[in-house]
């Protein structure tokens, strides 16, 4: 089913107060023509999922900086699964050791972008993956 706009939730989780990256990515996705629901800081995994449900989101993007990615990611994946949001793409971004990327993918993250990723790479990935999931 064709959707007019790609809708993305952009959020931070836990007590990590570094939101510059999340704000930059939110602006870039907006400029790429997407509708971005910006949740800001201090969210819980359950709160993010509830927002994704209410907003009929295609993508959940979570940004980490202070090393909580291996703590919260499994909780977000679990909340996505228990709510049956199989069609929602989970994308993680931010600052973490490269060796943690395969760990997060094993947990169920669809894609990971570390700091330094190109705008075009992120946008192309989201656009093509959402299109694929919808067809």
């Amino acid at each position: 089913m064709h959707k007019e706009k790609i809708k993305v939730i952009v959020s931070k989780v836990g007590l990590d107060g570094h939101d510059r990256g999340a704000k930059v990515v939110a602006s870039l996705l907006k400029e790429a023509g997407m509708e971005v629901v910006y949740l800001g800081m201090y969210q819980s995994p359950e709160g993010i999922i509830k927002a994704a449900i209410d907003e009929d989101a295609d993508v959940i993007g979570v940004s980490y900086l202070s090393g909580e990615h291996l703590v919260y990611t499994p909780k977000i994946v679990e909340a996505i699964r228990s709510n049956g949001l199989d069609d929602v793409l989970l994308v993680v971004g931010g600052s973490f050791p490269p060796e943690d990327i395969p760990l997060m993918k094993e947990m169920g993250v669809d894609e990971v972008f570390r700091g330094g990723s190109l705008t075009k790479t992120i946008i192309d990935y989201i656009t093509s993956s959402v299109r694929e999931k919808n067809h």
Binding site: K5, K30, E31, K50, A51, D54, D87
Partner: protein, 329 residues
């Protein structure tokens, strides 16, 4: 989500009426997109709508609309009412993208199943709302929400569509936004049933309060059967909860306006106006859809544009010709 397994309209509406938020979410996307299924969905939703209290909140960007709504939701939840919130933010005229940032202020309710919040991009629609906002309100009504709060995008002077959707309209102002002449102008000042002077702890708030009160006293007409707008000073954002002020008074004023609407039977007039507006918009939308569908693939639209560009004709003559051919008059 439900994208792959799209159920039938009647199935979706059944789930909506049972309060299923995912059915609601999916339906809102469909009406927002003006999808094929949206008309048949709205036909089924319609009879279950029209019974909730609908509150509109407008005012410029940064005046504190979302922060106030956060407190209003809290108050209505204390009264055990189910609450729906539709928050509109502007879409980019260039890319069509939007940054929908109202949810940040609603974090206190992020885990509450009795609150359904939906953000919408305006998608080029003028008037302070999105084209589909009125349908979204009806969907939220059918979902079983007792109160629905409609937040316009940051509105300046003339974005007044919210009066066609809401029964009680709040205009949110803050100090330092101009002198009393601004308050005397036509447009947005006139649509307010209640004026909220937010950030009332800032310098100049008292002067602002006095000029607004004077404007109401001398200017704004009392409606025929006796409602006069009031100004309610509030402080919606406070570091400590005791810094937050005026919320109880605001809720009381909203309730007073609602009782006035019902006691004076003005509510029937308000509902009739809402339907009149709706009828006009649906007419316009459908007519445009049918006509553009007829033109699609014929290359005529491009020819018209070229002809107008070359100065051989103008939009008025083109539309007249197209309509005449279409209606065969």
């Amino acid at each position: 989500m439900l994208k792959k397994r799209l159920s039938s309209p009647s199935e979706m509406v059944e789930r909506l009426l049972a309060g299923d938020r995912r059915a609601a979410a999916r339906m809102i996307t469909l009406v927002e997109d003006g999808a094929e299924a949206s008309n048949s969905l709205m036909k089924l939703v319609y009879p279950h709508s029209g019974r909730s209290v609908v509150i509109g909140i407008t005012g410029s960007g940064g005046s504190g609309k979302s922060s106030l709504i956060n407190h209003l939701v809290r108050k209505f939840r204390e009264q055990e009412k189910r609450v729906g919130v539709v928050a509109v933010d502007p879409s980019s005229p260039f890319t069509g993208g939007a940054l929908l940032g109202d949810r940040i202020r609603f974090q206190a309710h992020s885990m509450d199943d009795g609150v359904y919040i939906r953000s919408m991009g305006s998608r080029g629609y003028l008037g302070g709302l999105a084209r589909a906002t009125r349908d979204v309100v009806r969907i939220m009504e059918a979902m079983g929400n007792d109160v629905i709060i409609v937040e316009t995008l940051g509105a300046g002077q003339d974005e007044v569509d919210v009066i066609h959707v809401a029964q009680t309209c709040l205009l949110v102002l803050s100090p330092g936004m101009g002198d009393d002449i601004q308050a005397m102008k036509a447009g947005i000042m006139e649509i307010a049933d209640l004026i909220v002077l937010n950030k009332a702890d800032l310098d100049g708030a008292n002067f602002c309060l006095r000029s607004l009160e004077a404007t109401i006293h001398y200017g704004l007409e009392e409606s025929e059967d006796g409602w006069k707008p009031r100004v309610i000073p509030t402080v919606a954002a406070g570091a400590r909860s005791e810094d937050v002020q005026g919320i109880d008074e605001l809720v009381e004023a909203i309730e007073a306006h609602q009782s006035y609407l019902h006691e004076s039977r003005t509510i029937e007039e308000v509902q009739a106006k809402r339907i009149e507006q709706e009828l006009g918009l649906v007419f316009k939308d459908e007519l445009q859809k049918v006509i553009f569908r007829g033109l699609r693939g014929t290359g005529k639209k491009r020819k018209y544009i070229q002809a107008i560009l070359a100065g051989r004709t103008n939009p008025y003559s083109v539309v007249e010709d197209v309509l005449r051919a279409f209606l065969k008059v």
